[in-house]
Assembly symmetry: C2
């Protein structure tokens, strides 16, 4: 399979725009006995996305990537209209990566007139992002549920960069008995530690030099916790560091790495998560302890 | 296929209690190239359920019936604990009908600890039942979504007896891109018109003689509408008839047969729907015009 992938890298992927075309292409793979991996994206692809595609290639015979800027996960005051659309460049990158199929539905394909269904998730969706973007996970849940059911993938890779989203999607897939395995993909970073994000392109050159403070502060906190510091105290120190660098902090928190509940015992696996504004750009990041 | 079914009638169906066993049995059917029909029930089976099973047999090679009294669609003050459980008799009836597979999960199989996901449906779920059982359709939606995803059936049959539920499930399947066809099954009635229902066994002999008034009143209203009466006026007359018979009416309404929205034009397809209490038993029924 690795050989086949190498041979196909650079070949333009098939591009489909409707559920019917998608299912027809997937049915061809199935008839050939091939398994299917899936990476959902909102386009504006960077090396972090490509790493997820390459990871999916190690897990399945074929890989489909969706490109859909999902309106339901943006609040009216957020950056939906400003969000970068770079479709041709995205397809070039996916061709280089050897992606088999690009699924780029229109808004009316995903949410036709009369659309009436919502999905809510408690548990890992509570707090953190939800305290600042209360609409966000209902928007993510409905679009991810639809995409997983449309593609009928065997395995889907979600980046750890959006760690709470990863936990929410994992919970939803389990609760709804979606017949798919959700696999986390490690965060890809610039050499100075900044997590790759489609929103990094909003940063001014000056802001770009400041942005790695989030990762540095979380790393310092993780080292302190491993050395015995109280997680909440270490998170508070990271928050102070990030604020001193001039960012407006939404949250810096130490949470149970699986449930994302506040820590209750010293034996729990810990994840440090942060969100902060640098000028008009909201950055999020997280790290395991 | 009809012949195979006849041959198998009376043979005890396979009974499974977990998703893993269910999926294993379904995988056997799939390997044999067989299609799968599905009829979800809460047990307490009567001829109405059996008619749905027989309908499913005309639509698919194999039929699975689930038996699960779903706690999430009962409010705390409703009849969850009192709801009839007649598992052995149910399996006998399903054996007679030639059902292939009975799926009877436990509560903890469906809703394990930490379960966190909810589904809400606007559109057809608004009003009618929701005005009196506000929890009902969220409970139905989550259990039906899970059952459809667990069984991975090609086609599922839902009785028109629960007409609003049928419309809600149809809307959900469309909105979530569930890869299943939802097919309505006609209501089965006693000779005096009473719609078969598991809850009819709650009725006293005296109440049982009164109960057919709902169907009679709806039928009279449907005839009047076909003859030119204003639907809302005909529904009001049916409501008065049912109330005069001593029932406490929750609603009698004429609605758009597909969206269940109030009628706005004379060309819409009309459905008459009613819910009323007879003593401590809540009865629902509906009829097309």
């Amino acid at each position: 399979m690795g050989r086949q992938r190498m041979a196909e890298a650079g070949k333009a992927p098939k591009i489909v725009g409707t559920v019917a075309e998608l299912r027809s292409a997937v049915a061809d793979y199935r008839r050939a006995g091939e398994t299917l991996g899936f990476v959902p994206t909102m386009g504006a692809l960077h090396e972090g996305h490509i790493a997820l595609v390459k990871q999916a290639q190690t897990l399945a015979d074929r890989v489909v990537v969706s490109i859909f800027v999902n309106p339901t996960q943006f609040a009216p005051n957020e950056d939906f209209s400003r969000y970068p659309r770079t479709f041709d460049a995205d397809v070039d990158k996916l061709a280089q990566a050897g992606c088999d199929l690009v699924y780029a539905p229109g808004r009316e394909d995903m949410y036709p007139a009369g659309f009436s269904t919502g999905i809510s998730i408690a548990g890992p969706a509570q707090g953190l992002e939800s305290d600042f973007r209360p609409h966000f996970f209902s928007g993510v849940a409905i679009v991810v549920a639809k995409l997983l059911l449309q593609t009928a993938a065997d395995v889907a890779v979600f980046g750890e960069k959006d760690y709470q989203q990863l936990r929410v999607v994992t919970q939803m897939a389990r609760d709804l008995d979606l017949p798919v395995r959700i696999v986390p993909g490690p965060t890809v970073r610039e050499s100075d530690g900044l997590a790759l994000s489609s929103r990094n392109r909003y940063l001014t050159p000056e802001e770009r030099t400041v942005a790695p403070v989030i990762h540095r502060a979380l790393t310092t906190a993780a080292i302190a916790i491993k050395a015995g510091a109280v997680p909440d105290a270490a998170a508070a120190e990271a928050e102070a560091t990030i604020a001193r660098a001039g960012l407006k902090v939404d949250y810096v928190a130490a949470r149970n790495a699986e449930t994302l509940a506040p820590l209750a015992s010293p034996d729990e696996p810990v994840r440090l998560l942060a969100a902060a504004w640098l000028g008009t750009t909201r950055l999020i990041d997280n790290i395991g302890v």
